[in-house]
């Protein structure tokens, strides 16, 4: 057991113990950070290989709305509804991903196609207002505390669920990293033709990572909906959510495993901090700062905060090595 393992164990211990000492408000923030961190991580699984999708609001919206609608209208428990929503998201990811990859719709064209996709889902939810409640939002029927309905008034349950979800997301990230997939995808994002020429099934690898990313985003959306017990098309789908996902992941650093989580931590604490500091006098203050931060981030540190820290770490290690000689 080395220092690295000790840090990991210590960090995990703190995360497990937190619910016993913190107030409901802090719990609420932590759950949000974990859930959004999970979703941002899911997005980065595509983003870091150069598929910048502005359509993840679509996956999240489907993931959140499908189980809630099935629950409200057919009494179908979320344990079945959530997998159905996830499956539908994956299907949508395939339907949009396959032609995009086949026809080499890349870069900002890919971004714009997926942007249109997220608008399609948002507007469909609004248009079906008789069923979904439209812009007024949707409240899943309350069933008290129950595992069957996946509803709990005690935030600690959701804390544990989000924590597990988030750890699961990191595990998926790691398995992509560890497996052959990582090198394959890196090769594809460097030079597609060259990758194909050495026998890589470019299409299959791209679709695989798209499916994983869509599935996890939908799962995150579903749990987010179960936690908040209120869905609004503007807060779980559409262009605003899609951009929020992209930007938080970039600010945190989409190339590192913990980058997207750092993005969630930073954006949510910034938002809350400014909200508390300025009350409602400055509704736009948080996003004004956020916008400037984003521009600076993309210009000066495209690898995000974690990327910057890593580079500083490497430099320090190098200078230490020089000093030791």
């Amino acid at each position: 057991m080395n220092a690295r393992h000790a840090t990991l164990a210590g960090g995990f211990g703190i995360l497990v113990l937190l619910p016993f000492v913190s107030s409901p408000y802090v719990m609420h923030l932590l759950i949000q950070i974990l859930l959004w961190g999970f979703i941002y991580t899911a997005w980065s699984m595509m983003g870091r290989f150069g598929f910048v999708s502005l359509g993840h609001g679509a996956f999240m919206g489907i993931g959140a709305y499908v189980p809630a609608l099935l629950w409200n209208y057919y009494g179908l428990m979320p344990w079945i509804g959530i997998p159905l929503g996830v499956a539908l998201s994956v299907l949508l990811g395939l339907v949009i991903g396959y032609p995009c990859f086949r026809l080499k719709v890349i870069g900002h064209y890919f971004a714009l196609v997926t942007l249109a996709l997220s608008q399609v889902v948002l507007l469909s939810i609004v248009a079906a207002r008789d069923i979904t409640g439209g812009s007024l939002g949707l409240t899943p029927k309350a069933a008290g505390d129950s595992w069957y309905a996946l509803q709990f008034s005690d935030k600690r349950y959701f804390y544990v669920i989000s924590l597990l979800l988030w750890l699961g997301g990191l595990a998926v990230w790691r398995s992509i990293d560890r497996g052959i997939g990582r090198q394959v995808l890196d090769a594809i994002s460097e030079d597609e033709e060259a990758a194909a020429s050495i026998g890589i099934d470019v299409m299959r690898e791209k679709l695989r990572v798209t499916m994983i990313s869509a599935a996890l985003t939908a799962l995150g959306g579903a749990i987010y909906g179960q936690y908040l017990m209120y869905l609004n098309p503007e807060t779980v789908s559409g262009i605003a959510v899609s951009l929020q996902i992209v930007f938080a992941a970039i600010v945190g650093g989409m190339y590192a495993m913990l980058g997207p989580t750092v993005g969630a931590l930073l954006t949510i604490s910034l938002n809350e901090g400014l909200r508390v500091a300025f009350a409602t006098n400055f509704i736009g203050a948080a996003n004004t700062i956020y916008g400037v931060l984003l521009i600076l981030c993309i210009i000066f540190m495209p690898r995000g905060i974690v990327g910057l820290l890593e580079r500083m770490g490497v430099r320090r290690a190098r200078s230490n090595a020089v000093a030791a000689e």
Binding site: G50, V52, I96, P99, C100, L103, V105, G107, H108, Y109, A111, L112, V113, L115, A116, L117, Q119, V120, L123, S124, V126, A127, I239, A240, L243, V246, F247, I250, F282, I283, G284, A285, A286, N287, T288, Y290, G291, V292, L293, L294, I295, C297, I298, I299, P302
Partner: protein, 284 residues
């Protein structure tokens, strides 16, 4: 034929004019600098606020306020290029899109800070014309005419003047143009200024028919990106036609069902067409 359907088609035609005008500047920047200003519709929003503030707030005469809005946004376009695009001009195009996305957040929330989220109207009431039982909004007619004039002027500027030729040349080959003695940077700045100015013009005409609020860009933004891509990058005529196709889908679709579904139809049409004709509807 049903008179309401005719009205829907005529109104669609006029909406197409507004969209074509909105897409004109974006298309120029998209085609020449190869950058997507994802905040373009929000820059238009700023122009609407400038107009609102000068005309309704300070009581300036309308033409003067419009002129200030147009010149102001042209200057803003130059600033956007200098501060945001130029430092990352040579990195992947997606980075430029995302950096202007930061601008989108900034502008929307800054407008919220300054003006709140209220819907504001500049309070100019233009008449509604009745023509054989069809009601046509004068403001839309005006926007349609201006879009037509703007497109024609821009077309001749690009085709007939030296600078216009240089702009078209740079869109075709970025590297070789320096050898021909054209200052690439100057062309980019000029393009950004024209793009910004066109956003200002669109803002003036849009303010006549829509209330301004900080998130109005979200309504028009996605539509005008679709139009630019559908029309083919930098293809002014294609963009013009695309604007009318999209507006007809929205207008006729809205007649048969509801507004949201007609937008869904338009976005779906865009996605499908991206796969069928990725280089634009007029591409050979």
């Amino acid at each position: 034929m049903d008179i309401y359907l005719v009205e829907a088609i005529v109104n669609g035609l006029l909406l197409g004019g507004v969209l074509a005008l909105l897409a004109l500047g974006l298309n120029l920047i998209f085609g020449v600098i190869d950058v997507v200003w994802i905040a373009y519709a929000d820059i238009v929003m700023c122009g609407m606020y400038i107009l609102y503030w000068l005309y309704a707030g300070l009581g300036w005469p309308l033409p003067l306020a419009c002129a200030v809005a147009i010149v102001g946004l042209a200057a803003f376009g130059v600033l956007v290029h200098l501060l945001i695009i130029e430092p990352i001009l040579h990195s992947a195009p997606i980075n430029q899109l995302l950096a202007t996305g930061g601008l989108l957040f900034f502008l929307q929330s800054f407008a919220t800070l300054l003006f709140g989220t209220d819907f504001r109207n500049i309070g100019v009431r233009l008449p509604i014309i009745e023509l054989g039982g069809i009601y046509i909004s004068y403001a839309r007619l005006l926007a349609f005419a201006m879009a037509l004039i703007g497109a024609v002027v821009l077309y001749f500027f690009l085709k007939r003047t030296f600078i216009g030729t240089a702009i078209r040349a740079i869109a075709q080959d970025r590297d070789i143009i320096g050898l021909m003695g054209v200052d690439q940077r100057r062309i980019y700045l000029l393009t950004s200024a024209i793009g910004g100015g066109l956003a200002g013009l669109a803002a003036c005409l849009l303010a006549l028919q829509h209330d301004v609020h900080p998130f109005i860009g979200n309504t028009f933004g996605p539509l005008i990106f679709m139009i630019c891509v559908l029309g083919g990058l930098g293809d002014m005529i294609g963009g013009f036609i695309a604007a009318f196709i999209i507006s007809q889908i929205i207008s006729i679709g809205g007649y048969y069902s509801n507004t949201e579904l007609s937008y869904v139809l338009a976005f779906t049409f865009f996605i499908v067409l991206m796969f069928v004709r990725p280089r634009g509807i007029l591409a050979r």
